[in-house]
């Protein structure tokens, strides 16, 4: 029942993180990773040179732990949880975020739990990215406004 949450400047190592939440009862893991897109086609099509991520670190870590608790409250079969956000200057093709959830079996919510985790992280974990494009730079702004108790 291990929970690992981390804000890091280091490369995200999927093998090591998965192993860290695997135990003798683990039979399934659902993992989500997000990467920097160099080319975006949806919405306003554009190129990205790199992203500069920053975090309000102690609050981000607290909110990542909260996301893990919310996952456990919703899927009691989830055993291990990893949530890692990488920050700093990140180039296209680089994984920036990882959410992994493990369980004994694949049919008791691991996919839904990982999906919930990334959606929730993008709502409440205080991390921002500045997008550097060939023709300028701008902060990417989210849309979610937390309500009291979040």
């Amino acid at each position: 029942m291990k929970t690992i949450t981390s804000i890091t400047q280091d490369e995200i190592d999927l093998n090591t993180l998965l192993q860290a939440i695997t135990d003798d009862g683990t039979g399934a893991a659902a993992i989500f990773t997000g990467m920097v897109r160099g080319i975006t086609e949806r919405g306003d099509p554009h190129q990205t040179t790199y992203l500069e991520y920053e975090a309000y670190q102690p609050m981000a870590e607290a909110k990542m732990r909260q996301v893990a608790q919310e996952i456990r409250a919703r899927w009691e079969t989830v055993q291990g949880i990893v949530i890692v956000q990488r920050i700093g200057r990140l180039y296209p093709r680089t994984p920036t975020i990882l959410i992994a959830c493990t369980a004994a079996h694949r049919d008791t919510g691991v996919f839904e739990a990982a999906r919930y985790g990334i959606d929730r992280l993008k709502e409440i974990v205080p991390v921002w990215k500045k997008e550097i494009k060939p023709d300028g730079e701008e902060w990417v702004e989210g849309e979610y406004h937390p309500t009291p108790g979040e």
């Binding site: 997000g34 991520y53 920053e54 975090a55 309000y56 102690p58 609050m59 981000a60 607290a62 909110k63 956000q85 920036t96 975020i97 990334i118 992280l121 993008k122 709502e123 409440i124 974990v125 205080p126 991390v127 921002w128 990215k129 500045k130 902060w139 990417v140 702004e141 989210g142 849309e143 979610y144 406004h145 937390p146 009291p148 979040e150």
Partner: protein, 82 residues
């Protein structure tokens, strides 16, 4: 009085032209009142600070919430991590 630590992130930091500052606040000062004070001191924050998110001691807080002594208050736009 214990000073309140105030942090700015992302666009708010650019507009405030600082990452952090400390202020002595009267007991019971709310987030809304602190925003007004900050806009008086740093007019560049006007139009942005009113609608941004706020936290007190790493929890989301709102205009009407009072700031306890020696708190860490942060202002920032909606998050965009992932």
């Amino acid at each position: 009085m214990s000073p309140t630590k105030i942090l700015f992130f992302a666009t708010l930091r650019d507009r405030a032209a600082t990452r952090a500052l400390e202020m002595e606040l009267p007991p019971g000062t709310t987030i809304a009142q602190l925003k007004s004070l900050l806009i008086q001191q740093r007019p560049a924050l006007a139009g942005l600070l009113e609608h941004c998110l706020a936290s007190i001691n790493h929890e989301y807080r709102f205009d009407e919430d009072p700031i306890p002594p020696a708190a860490e208050v942060a202002f920032f736009p909606p998050v965009s991590g992932g």
